[in-house]
């Protein structure tokens, strides 16, 4: 009897979400997978021919796709580390009892509100003009030069701009985690005479593992899907060296008009990333349970 009512609640609580989610995300995605096995032209699916795996074969032979894949991995790993360290530190800072903490929080969070072409405008100015001027003034033109025109530094400019945005984003999640720690526990540790380092590692970090699970996954998935900053800052340049995966997929579809191949790329991308990240979520979730 109790079991039945539980099952009923379970579904009653889930059905509204699932209904919308399935119709908005799952079905279009499945359609996308179906399209990837055809010669779909980006318009009406009616009339497309089944081509089995030939799109996928093309994907694996596409040198640009493979190098974009590798670059995206490098980018994602760096981003996960950098933005979580900065984001968590910021959250630690602004959850202390400071008078101006709310203003500080708002400021750190502000970069998230600047997107698209404006973001490119501002940062291109910094990297292409301000840096050149700084280089002349400081006689340090080996550090400060036009980063956007250098393949290596253009990549790092994307990292910097994304970290500038993403750190404030995960800070918000860490704040929620830190704010929900029972203050009594901290109080008790103070009475025990725990130093700040021990307090961080023995009390705060274990209690914020859920926030870490979430933030790691969100930074990972957002980095893998990175498009806006890539587009507005370097647009893949110089000479295609900073083209990340999503940009590669978008260009395959909308520049080269190879919609079905682009769908196959998205599917390959999804499967690989899903395998990696679900392992990550599974591992950290397991840690949460053990805690």
């Amino acid at each position: 009897m109790k079991k039945n009512s539980n099952t009923l609640t379970f579904w009653l609580f889930l059905i509204p979400s699932l209904f919308i989610f399935i119709n908005v995300v799952i079905i279009p995605f499945i359609l996308g997978i179906i399209y990837s096995f055809t010669d779909w032209d980006g318009f009406s699916f009616f009339g497309s021919k089944f081509v089995a795996f030939s799109n996928y074969l093309k994907v694996f032979r596409d040198q640009n796709f493979l190098s974009a894949f590798l670059l995206t991995f490098k980018y994602a790993i760096i981003m996960v580390i950098v933005s979580n360290i900065i984001g968590f530190s910021l959250a630690l800072l602004v959850t202390r009892k400071m008078r101006t903490r709310n203003i500080l929080r708002s400021i750190f969070f502000m970069p998230n509100l600047i997107g698209g072409l404006i973001l490119g405008f501002i940062w291109q100015f910094i990297f292409t003009k301000l840096f050149v001027q700084l280089g002349t003034v400081l006689h340090a033109s080996n550090i400060f030069f036009n980063w956007i025109n250098d393949p290596n530094m253009a990549f790092w400019s994307i990292v910097i701009v994304s970290a500038w945005q993403m750190s404030g984003y995960v800070m918000i999640i860490y704040i929620a985690g830190l704010e929900s720690i029972n203050p009594d526990i901290i109080e008790a540790s103070l009475i025990d005479g725990a130093g700040p380092v021990r307090r961080l590692f023995n009390i705060i970090l274990p209690l914020t593992v859920p926030s870490f699970t979430i933030s790691l996954f969100i930074t990972l998935s957002n980095s893998f899907k990175q498009y806006d900053t890539n587009l507005s800052l370097t647009n893949g340049g110089p000479y295609g060296t900073t083209e990340l995966l999503t940009m590669n997929i978008v260009q395959t579809a909308y520049k080269h008009n190879q919609y079905a191949i682009a769908q196959s790329k998205a599917v390959v991308f999804f499967v690989v990333i899903m395998a990696i990240t679900l392992v990550q979520v599974y591992l950290t979730k397991k840690r949460e349970v053990e805690m």
């Binding site: 291109q124 110089p238 520049k255």
Partner: protein
């Protein structure tokens, strides 16, 4: 207390749901012809890509709607960067609900070909200038009415040319251009004589277009190139273009400036010439240059003609009702050929006419381009119909490498261009 809270939330939810539906329904009066069938007016919708003219066009359409009572024209929202994507999503979902009139030109055109109606019984079509007819004709049938033509070349600073004692009319060969660059670079304040912008169209498509536009056999050459029967090396005008680029490269900004910076640099006298088209007018006006300027052809292989083509063209949706299609063509005829429409097109929208005997705008660059058109001193925008999709990105990667000094010699340049071309053409 908590009961009240949950009650409150659920009330808000219900209100949001209800008002959400009702208010959207109110505002969504008629999106399509069918919705306003209570009166006998035909509704047609227009979606166009030039955000700059959107509000002026609205004024013009309001005027048209007032001038007659059979047709109601509705201007839909536009979006700058992803216009083609938005349009595509509409056609892929339900073509009969997509805009009755839409604009598209250039490499995206073939995608939309299945959705374009043939233009018949149009006054404007009969007045179409010969040079641009090609741009909107497929298999001998007319599939669009160009809204305007645009021309590009080297826009030059007349004051600086005078100061350096250069006659713009004398620049009829690359050597003359190099000579001029030599003189210009000695002037005070001139950082580089020529500037290209780094956007894919400006750094690659437009400059590279010259290589084919001056080739009288470009159609067959491109056909063979697509099939891999010849390489770029076999096309003399392309080889010539590369040699010419080698000569002027030291005098350029190496296409490192954004479009905005390039034009601002020209306005401030940093660059004596920019490789651009008449579309810079509105930007230049805001940059307020204190000199006069004009436009000359890029003299690759001794070329003396301006590259002029259809910037964009009005298309009629094949899946609209026959009544809507007819109304659409009537509206376009009015816009292009009627006295009032001509006035609007030239003075408000500043369109350089693609039609014979139609009023031209007065802005300096547009007027010069119109003169070249009048004299027939024009060569086509080959890329509009003959460049493979995606070549803008891939080709600009090659030319960026070239400017960065990563391409050793002309042979490598030619073979890299051939590679990306064949790869993009052969899908």
């Amino acid at each position: 207390m908590k009961k009240i809270l949950s009650l409150l939330i659920s009330t808000i939810l219900i209100i949001a749901l209800v008002t959400g539906c009702s208010s959207s329904n109110n505002s969504k009066t008629s999106q399509n012809g069918t919705a306003s069938s209570q009166n006998s007016k035909i509704t047609i919708t227009v979606m166009q890509s030039k955000t700059e003219i959107q509000s002026d066009l609205q004024t013009i359409i309001d005027d048209y709607n007032k001038s007659q009572d059979k047709v109601e024209v509705k201007l839909l929202g536009t979006s700058g960067d992803n216009f083609a994507t938005v349009l595509q999503s509409q056609f892929s979902a339900s073509p009969e609900k997509a805009p009755t009139i839409f604009t598209i030109a250039g490499p995206d055109t073939p995608k939309f070909q299945p959705y374009m109606a043939e233009i018949k019984n149009s006054k404007a079509a009969e007045m179409l200038a010969d040079g641009v007819k090609d741009d909107v004709t497929v298999d001998g049938k007319l599939y669009g009415l160009p809204s305007a033509v645009e021309g590009y070349g080297l826009i030059y600073n007349k004051n600086l040319f005078k100061e350096a004692n250069i006659d713009p009319a004398s620049i009829t060969s690359i050597d003359a251009l190099v000579n001029a660059c030599e003189k210009l670079s000695k002037l005070n304040g001139v950082v580089k004589p020529i500037a290209f912008a780094k956007e894919t169209y400006f750094s690659f498509i437009h400059p590279f277009n010259w290589a084919f536009a001056v080739d009288p056999n470009y159609k067959t050459d491109i056909e063979k190139l697509d099939k891999g029967q010849i390489t770029m090396k076999d096309i003399p005008s392309v080889v010539q273009w590369i040699k010419d680029m080698d000569k002027i490269k030291p005098y350029t900004n190496k296409a490192l400036d954004s479009y905005d910076d390039q034009v601002a640099g020209f306005a401030s006298g940093k660059y004596a010439m920019i490789h651009q088209g008449d579309w810079v007018q509105s930007v230049l006006d805001q940059d307020k240059p204190n000199f006069e300027y004009g436009i000359i052809p890029f003299p690759t292989g001794g070329n003396t003609k301006l590259a002029v083509g259809t910037a964009t063209a009005w298309r009629v949706n094949k899946y609209a009702t026959p009544e809507q299609q007819k109304a659409a063509i009537e509206f376009l005829d009015w816009l292009i050929t009627s006295d009032k429409g001509q006035e609007y097109s030239a003075d408000t929208l500043k369109f350089i006419p693609a039609y014979k005997g139609v009023k031209a705008p007065k802005a300096p660059l547009a007027a010069e381009v119109a003169q070249y058109v009048d004299k027939g001193q024009i060569i086509p925008w080959v890329y509009n119909n003959y460049f493979p999709n995606g070549i803008d990105v891939d080709g600009s990667n090659v030319i960026q490498k070239y400017y960065a000094g990563l391409i050793k010699n002309d042979d490598q340049f030619l073979s890299e261009l051939t590679n990306v071309w064949v790869q993009d053409a052969g899908k």
